[in-house]
Amino acid sequence: MTNKFKLSKWQLFAWSTGLILSAPLFFLLFESLQGSSEVFSHLWDTVLWDYITNTVLLVLGVCVLSCAIALPLGWLTAYCSFPGKKQFEWALMLPLAMPTYIIAYVYTDLLDYAGPVQIALREWFGWQSPNDYWFFDIRTLPGAIVMIALVLYPYLFLIFKTALREQSFKLVQASQLMGLSPWQSFFKVSLVLSRGAIVAALALISMETMADFATVSYFAVSTLTTAVYDTWFGYYSLTAAAKISGVMLLLLFLALMAERFSRRNQSVFERQSSVNSESLYVLKGKSAWLATAFCSFILFIAFVIPIAVLINYAITYFDKAWNVEFFSYAWQSLKVAGVVSLITITLSVFVVFYQRVAKQAYPLIPGRLASTGYALPGTVLAIAVLLPLTLLENTINTALEPYNLDIGLLLTGSIFTIIIAYIVRFYAIAHGAIESSFLRISPSLDMASQSMGKSQGQTLRLVHLPLLRRGLLTAALLVFIECMKELPAALLLRPFNFESLATHVFQYVSDEQLELASISALFIVIVGFIPLYFINRSMEQRS
């Protein structure tokens, strides 16, 4: 009886979280059923298929490139030793602190026809016009894929590395003893065992890519996200925009279902030892230098070059770009990011725990529901959040009218709405990271705890949480950094006189004058270092 009662408590919590966090989406879908679908069918007849093709190619491209970058990096830093490994372990996470639209801007400026690289080439070789030579065009779909992958690969790197560290080291050693080469062991053991984590990270990367607006619009690559914007703010049709959001969610849902189906019979539990202080493979000679060169190359293009350009801007435009208000913007951003990280982590621990202990059917649904907000582009999400909140506010105000009371815009006129929107948007990150950590805790531990008479709550607190510590930190870090960078929702939902670092920077980026906000852009990146430092320290202590 006791057990049943407790289960329903978890159930109630998980389902309420799922329903509340997905409410904006349902309101949006409801909106899509209103009115006529004239605009939507016009889009369907003209450009929508181009948008869908571009979106699918973009997401696939970013996933493939992220794997090509992050899997080798994760494996090298987790299992091998080579010159600079310790530094690379944390430095390779740094690009995560860089908003995509900044790196896109920086590279466009460098590599455009009118940028310094091509100008120099023309001077050296005496070329006169674009017809005299070929140079790749950065503002294209492949360009967007590279830019987005350079910022998002750390998700996969971080989650994959965490997974490798949490795998039993003995399995890899055993594979070695059985005669597998390092490559075979990587493909047959490490990849297979970390598949859950890899897929969770790729799901995050896909959603983040689908929601990206700044980069694709800057690169003039029309995707479903840009279509949502055009439709909403061009055709002024919320209905058609909501319908396109529906198409996006359908694509996402199909991808996630395909993935679940493909590993329906697989379960992996491991939680015994971490990597020892000495590494499994000590790279020497050429392979050591190759490893160092690969890590340096990625770090260089994803982080060093953009930062160098920003610093250069900051020096050149110092007089115009320096602004004492940075500190207050930074403080506003930090506050919001901190609160949102805390809340999303708390919610997802309980929801994932419910998935684990639920005996009812469909325990995965609340988590999936709660994660849907991540695929929505920021502005769409902002309006989607406003739909239920304004309805709620208006209902309260109407109810209070007879008493001559008026709460006004207590919710939507304050920072509360931004926090809600960020929770809706970033819950999926926390959920993904925590779910993959939870999956590696063997159920036998739960049974042991139960047989010792511990309740489910006690099991969570005494057994799971300590084992989850690293996953929780990873999740908190990712959510925190995303909040620091988040832009479109903040732009639209912020109350009067609220400015975050990202909104401040974007005002200039949107006018193609990043130079004038270069110092603020550097601030965003530097503030992103703080959580990176903490998570890295915690990882080092563990291993």
């Binding site: 016009h42 889009l43 003209t46 450009v47 181009d50 009118a114 100008i119 006169q128 016009s129 674009p130 065009d137 800057y218 690169f219 003039a220 029309s222 055009d230 909403w232 703010f233 061009g234 055709y235 002024y236 919320l238 050149t316 506003q332 506050k335 609160v339 805390l342 809340i343 708390t346 502005t379 902002a382 309006i383 406003l386 739909l387 304004t390 506010e393 208006n394 105000n397 815009l409 207590l410 939507t412 006129g413 304050s414 920072i415 509360f416 926090i419 479109p488 732009l491 639209l492 912020r494 109350p495 009067f496 006189n497 609220f498 909104t503 005002q507 949107s510 006018d511 193609e512 130079e515």
Partner: protein
């Protein structure tokens, strides 16, 4: 949970208090463009301004907030936003003799629902070195095959280009405009991208010879030592001087239907349409003032006077949805 709740309260409390001597503004226009004007307004009147800046979605926000909206005034960067606010019945009448005196009727709504604050001209830039000034150029010429591979522009769906396409429909009808758009697309040197500034840069570097752009960008670039070279590489041309005149877009303002401080909002509009602010607009932003007799910035004046298309903005605005459809039909941006 208690801690979280306390944190929430703490954060909510950081929202500003609203006194009566304020005016709350939703602005599509960027802070660095209007802040100096707002600061001067506060200095003159003691009325504090609170602003939310965003380029998208503000109209939707006003609509959703309904009668509880805190916005008193919306500042827009193009006429279609003004007219959409009016269509959604989110505005109230601006009743002011001083505004009527300051702003010519062509730049005010007939029912007083919106007022323009500045004019912006859709120019064509041409490469000084390769093509020279084109005083007889028309928008129609941009579809002429002789300019194949020579034209640069930002997205066709940007409000500035949409306004231009809508004005083409108003003058030539749907079928002819579609043909024209196909012609322009065939002449593009590259896929539409970047903003107006990026187009001038592309002309400088030889990627294209002609570019569409609003005139104030040129002024802004001339002020920037890094970008001066780009601006100096182009001629500014006012199209259609030989017939109807150049297409004009406007930035403007409305007072919201549920404004809590309508008197202050009106005071701000009166201030913004009066000589001092109009002068600041002209000199800070290099835009054309709507109030006649206000001096242009010396740089803007140096570009010369020109004839404006006299078709009323609400007439052009009617064709905006159709313009968007045509742009999708010819896949202008793809």
């Amino acid at each position: 949970m208690k801690t979280v709740f306390t944190l929430f309260l703490g954060l909510s409390a950081s929202a500003p208090a609203f006194a009566s001597d304020v005016v709350n503004i939703y602005s599509f226009r960027q802070p660095f463009l209007i802040q100096p004007i707002l600061d001067d307004f506060t200095k003159q009147t003691g009325i504090k301004t609170n602003v939310v800046f965003a380029k998208k979605g503000l109209i939707e926000r006003v609509k959703r907030e309904g009668k509880h909206s805190k916005a008193d005034l919306v500042l827009t960067s193009n006429f279609s936003a003004l007219i959409q606010l009016e269509d959604l019945k989110l505005t109230q009448t601006i009743k002011s003799d001083s505004v009527n005196n300051n702003v010519p009727a062509a730049f005010r709504d007939g029912d007083g629902q919106w007022v323009a604050l500045t004019k912006r001209v859709r120019n064509v830039y041409s490469s000084k070195e390769r093509i020279g000034a084109l005083p007889k150029l028309t928008y129609e010429d941009l579809a002429d095959p002789k300019y194949k591979g020579q034209i640069c522009t930002r997205s066709g769906k940007h409000p500035y280009n949409l306004g231009l396409v809508a004005s083409m429909i108003a003058h030539h009808g749907e079928a002819q405009t579609k043909e024209w758009l196909e012609g322009v697309k065939a002449n593009l040197a590259r896929k539409p991208q970047g903003n107006d500034r990026a187009q001038v840069k592309a002309v400088k570097e030889g990627l294209c010879n002609l570019a569409l752009g609003n005139s104030y960008y040129l002024g802004k670039m001339l002020e920037d030592k890094e970008q001066k070279g780009w601006a100096e590489a182009v001629n500014i041309n006012f199209p259609n001087q030989v017939n109807r005149g150049s297409h004009i877009n406007v930035s403007g303002a409305v007072i919201t239907k549920y404004a809590k401080n309508p008197e202050n909002a009106l005071k701000l509009i009166e201030y913004m349409t009066d000589s001092k602010a109009q002068n600041m607009y002209a000199s800070l932003n290099m835009e054309y003032p709507v109030k006649s007799g206000v001096e242009l910035s010396s740089l803007v004046a140096s570009w010369g006077s020109f004839k404006e298309d006299s078709l009323p903005l609400d007439e052009i605005s009617k064709y905006r949805p159709l313009a968007l459809k045509l742009i999708d039909e010819v896949k202008f941006d793809l």
